[in-house]
């Protein structure tokens, strides 16, 4: 079995402290990095959601700054509620993908002003080849009759509350991993040596609100991505 003692202990600690079987906690291993875009993102609560979910599960993670993230040390890069994606962030996302990391990129453009949305769309298209459509208001008349869930199909089936407005995906390569009201809002695709997971409906606010299903989805996602890193 190709596993070192240190890594085995790391895995075991992960099971005990977090119930997240397989998440590598070894300090020398590649890390989970949460990139806080601060004024370039749009939902602080999304960042807080990832922080609280990772911390409460005992996951070894670190806050990232695009200027000093080491892509080679990064197993999974999480970019919550991105709106403006400045060049240093694009560079670090692309470097992480090139070195075999997974990147969870969450769009925060659902509530964005038109000009900000257009810049967001261009950045996604030009740098990451992710094609998005105009944001869709899922609750135009505050109807109490719709089913308020995004249905995820990978890495596990999960129902997570929608966040009122979503950024649907256009036609493109990759696997659609989430839909709401028939709209594709989650994408997974290989990119470089890594994997890009794009979320057109923010997961962070659900994590922040304590949605257990959202947390399970995230942890499964991290485990799967971490194993592949």
């Amino acid at each position: 079995m190709g596993i070192t003692r240190r890594r085995f202990l790391g895995y075991t600690a992960g099971v005990v402290t977090a119930g997240l079987r397989g998440l590598p906690l070894d300090p020398t291993s590649r890390r989970y990095v949460l990139l806080d875009l601060d004024e370039h993102g749009c939902f602080r609560e999304s960042v807080s959601g990832y922080e609280s979910a990772l911390t409460s599960a005992g996951v070894r993670w670190m806050p990232g700054d695009a200027r000093w993230i080491s892509p080679a040390r990064c197993a999974v890069l999480i970019v919550p509620a991105a709106l403006e994606i400045p060049p240093p962030v694009v560079r670090v996302i692309m470097s992480c993908l090139q070195t075999g990391a997974s990147v969870i990129l969450e769009s925060g453009a659902g509530f964005a002003a038109d000009r900000d949305y257009r810049a967001h769309r261009v950045a996604l298209r030009d740098y990451l080849q992710v094609h998005i459509e105009m944001p869709v208001d899922l609750w135009p008349d505050n109807s109490s009759q719709r089913i308020p869930y995004v249905d995820y199909t990978w890495p596990r089936p999960a129902k997570v509350r929608d966040f009122s407005r979503v950024v649907p995906l256009g036609r493109q390569t990759g696997e659609v991993i989430a839909r709401v009201d028939g709209l594709p809002v989650g994408l997974r695709r290989a990119s470089g040596r890594g994997r890009l997971i794009f979320l057109g409906s923010p997961l962070g606010p659900a994590l922040w609100a304590g949605d257990a299903e959202a947390r399970r989805w995230l942890f499964d996602c991290l485990r799967t991505a971490g194993e592949q890193a």
């Binding site: 749009c42 505050n142 109807s143 308020p148």
Partner: protein, 279 residues
């Protein structure tokens, strides 16, 4: 204990000054000013104009009991859209600023709205996060924020224990409850809310409620004091028990169809009976 009534009860065609005369003549001690609900007090009303409102109130022999607003029904602190939330915060800030200008120490807000779209857990968290810095600002200004219990319409903090826990989580002496004894309907008993919240009560809204009657079209479940199902002797007893000696503020939803000024006189007399405890 002093009694006040909202300026949103003043018939619109009367104007502010004539309304103040009525409030004074009816026997009230003060007036609650509703930011955004009346033409004379809007978000766009300048500081100098707010000072002028205060001058008019004092010239009428009244004081401002508190500043309230219904603007958070459209722009709640719990909104998902950051732009709406920023506007909601600005409304509270303006309430605090105008409370200082008007010489009062309490404001009312509707803390959050649970809807089919925005679920309870989000609303709870978002309200806490929004109110923490606002509580600090209020404390610096010598103002207390009273979150109103709008149980049925708000679908948030519906029981007194939930509200108590929320205020515990807030952990700020500047954030309390503006208790509306008419809003509890048949989800509980106003006197128990008073007992549980005691010193955290910033102001008390009074109106009566018909608990056996649901809303139907434009029909109101609210009515004048002593005409509904509230247990007023118990409510008065609870006020005494917790030592509440602050403002009672009349807030009737249903207005008189004829002779609208008569409601002011009737309400003031009923509040006198409530305060005196003679039932």
């Amino acid at each position: 204990m002093k009694k006040a009534i909202g300026d949103n009860m003043i018939p619109k065609e009367w104007g502010f000054e004539k309304g103040l005369e009525l409030v004074k003549q009816a026997g009230f001690d003060g007036i609650e000013l509703w930011l955004g609900d009346v033409p004379w007090f809007q978000m766009s009303t300048a500081d100098s104009e707010v000072r002028e409102l205060r001058r008019k109130v004092e010239n009428a022999g009244l004081v401002v009991s508190n500043v309230s607003t219904g603007l958070h029904w459209a722009s709640p602190l719990s909104a998902r859209d950051p732009k709406v939330r920023a506007q909601a915060v600005r409304i509270v800030e303006r309430e605090i600023e105008t409370a200082v200008l008007l010489g009062t120490d309490a404001i009312l807000l509707v803390a959050g709205l649970v809807t089919p779209e925005v679920p309870y857990n989000e609303v709870y968290q978002r309200c806490l996060e929004a109110l923490r810095p606002l509580g600090e600002k209020a404390a610096r200004s010598g103002v207390r924020i009273g979150c109103e219990n709008c149980n049925a319409e708000q679908r948030f903090l519906i029981s007194p224990r939930e509200f108590w826990q929320f205020l515990n989580d807030m952990n700020s002496p500047a954030v309390g409850i503006h208790l509306d004894v008419g809003n509890i309907h048949d989800t509980g008993f106003a006197e128990q809310w008073i007992e549980i919240h005691g010193p955290r009560i910033t102001r008390i809204h009074v109106k009566d409620v018909m608990t056996k009657r649901g809303r139907c079209g434009d029909q109101s479940v609210y009515t004048n004091l002593f005409l509904g199902d509230n247990n007023w002797p118990a409510i008065r007893g609870a006020m005494t028990k917790v030592g509440y000696d602050g403002w009672l503020v009349a807030e009737m939803e249903a207005r008189y169809r004829y002779a609208p000024d008569q409601q002011f006189y009737d309400t003031a007399r009923a509040m006198d009976r409530l305060i005196s405890g003679r039932f």
